[in-house]
């Protein structure tokens, strides 16, 4: 699939269809990214100017779930599904099971996200239960999109022409199938009363992130990284091991979001202990990616896709290890309820998932469409996103710690609000850089799909040699 090997003029019909699907998913996701992070900027601004945009439709408590849900289910979900389709088709050397289903899925994802956004802004919020705030009929639409995607993805792998199922597809198929279960558990009401609903919330807000975005992002890593480097993954077996350990350990640690709550103690202790066990797939997975890149880190200077993926791996490593540390009761006593948690969720969703998605889109979308983004656009996107998120996470981590210490010292509550002031400003600065980088990304996506391709040499000329042959 080296870009040089197939002139774009001879794309076969099936390839063209796949490229169109991949491009449509990416464009749609990008639109959601720009929208969701614009809302994010608005929210960040309101911390400094709480009277700005007062009125029901612009109030903080309605915009915040719009920001999180649009990021999760508009941007990241749609982008990852598009990538998963492409990786499945290529790694299985086959064609999409159904192009039509892929389009149906895209429409369903978008209908759910649009309806959900409007509902939240009108005040139809399903209980402020994080990441499942959309009214349940809208979440049913999202579930149907997941089912369509699962059917299509498994069907594609089923018609593979290779003997083995490449590791990437384990993760992507698994992620979609498990998330169908997550969505069903979240919707059924019979075990969600009072404290019971707290337990389900702990399960949901944890799993909807780590059993959906994580496996999909890791899955496309396992394909894009070897392709970029023309070098196989360091240890395939470790990738398989990480798959199963992640599957078993991750779901049982959800209650660490509710330490010190009246949830039963054994649920909390189990969650804490297995949060340590989660280091196995995290450290093993990250080491596997980094060892695959061994000796080739210098190539990041020429290849921005590689640089994006590298940051994504580091984000995965740091963000997930941080999650383990946060799960200890002694750490929770300081950081729980503070902005530190917001920093953590951005480190993982942004530093890991977003950079993974960007790296893989830059690596794979040009291979599908035969069109390339310019080097300047790539550089601008990379550096603004990196510096912006660095400022963002750092300021909230420091500010959040101060907040937590303020409370422990017994200062009047308002002191923690006052002390966060400067960090809220820095968060805004980081946020603006991040948002601007997304605008550049949108331009780059345009170049890779229907816009003017940079006629530069292929992105990865130096990497195209097969050093394993």
């Amino acid at each position: 699939m080296q870009p040089a090997a197939h002139p774009s003029s001879v794309l076969k019909q099936k390839d063209l269809e796949l490229a169109r699907v991949f491009a449509a998913y990416t464009i749609s996701a990008t639109a959601w990214l720009v929208f969701a992070t614009f809302i994010g900027i608005l929210l960040a601004y309101k911390f400094g100017a709480p009277d700005f945009g007062s009125g029901a439709w612009l109030t903080f408590g309605r915009l915040r779930p719009i920001h999180t849900n649009a990021t999760f289910y508009g941007w990241a979900s749609i982008a990852l599904v598009g990538l998963a389709y492409y990786v499945a088709v290529r790694s299985c050397r086959t064609q999409l099971y159904s192009v039509r289903l892929a389009w149906v899925g895209l429409w369903l994802f978008n209908i759910a996200a649009i309806a959900g956004t409007i509902a939240l802004d009108l005040g139809y919020n399903d209980g402020n239960l994080e990441y499942r705030e959309w009214p349940w009929p809208i979440r049913l639409i999202f579930l149907s999109a997941l089912l369509v995607t699962a059917w299509n993805l498994v069907g594609t792998v089923a018609r593979r022409t290779t003997d083995d199922i490449y590791l990437s597809n384990w993760y992507t198929m698994g992620g979609v199938l498990w998330t169908c279960i997550i969505a069903v558990v979240a919707i059924l009401p019979w075990y969600q009363y009072g404290l019971g609903q707290v337990a389900v919330s702990g399960y949901y807000m944890h799993n909807a992130v780590g059993m959906w975005f994580t496996p999909l992002a890791l899955g496309i890593f396992y394909y894009a990284l070897p392709k970029l480097l023309s070098r196989p993954i360091y240890s395939y077996a470790l990738g398989v091991f990480a798959f199963w350990t992640n599957l078993v350990f991750y779901p049982i640690i959800g209650s660490h979001h509710f330490l010190f709550s009246p949830l039963p103690w054994w649920l909390q202790t189990t969650a804490i202990v297995f949060s340590v066990a989660m280091l196995v797939p995290v450290l093993g997975g990250s080491a596997n990616f980094l060892l695959t890149m061994r000796g080739r880190f210098g190539q990041m200077r020429e290849s921005y896709p590689l640089a994006f993926i590298f940051v994504g791996v580091i984000g995965y490593l740091v963000g997930s290890s941080q999650g383990t540390v946060e799960a200890f009761r002694s750490m929770q006593a300081v950081w729980h309820f503070t902005n530190y948690t917001v920093g953590h969720s951005h480190l993982t969703m942004y530093g890991f998932v977003n950079f993974a998605v960007w790296g893989c889109i830059y690596a794979l979308l040009p291979a599908a469409t035969g069109k390339y983004p310019g080097q300047a656009g790539l550089a601008l996107h990379f550096w603004m996103a990196l510096v912006g998120s660095f400022i963002y996470v750092l300021s909230l981590s420091i500010g959040g710690t101060i907040q937590g210490l303020n409370w422990i010292q017994g200062s009047p509550f308002i002191q923690s609000v006052v002390d966060m002031g400067p960090f809220h400003v820095w968060r805004g600065v980081g946020g603006i850089l991040m948002f601007l980088s997304h605008v550049v990304f949108a331009w780059n996506v345009w170049c890779m799909t229907y816009g003017p391709s940079a006629r530069a040499a292929p992105l990865v000329p130096a990497l195209a040699r097969d050093d394993t042959a």
Partner: protein, 54 residues
């Protein structure tokens, strides 16, 4: 422990011992695979993926 909702010490120890053993075993397996990755067979799917796959 700072509060009464941390549960009985003994119960906590049992959970920690059992899951601790699982955790240690998994760590050993992880380092094993990192130190001796093997997989030199050219037919292994990890090499297969690198071939021109369209």
């Amino acid at each position: 422990m700072e509060h009464q909702m941390a549960g009985p010490l003994f119960g906590n120890l049992i959970i920690i011992a059992m899951s601790g053993a699982v955790t240690v075993g998994c760590f050993v397996a992880m380092f094993w695979m990192l130190l001796w990755p093997g997989e030199t067979d050219r037919c292994h799917p990890k090499y297969d993926i690198l071939r021109h796959d369209r």
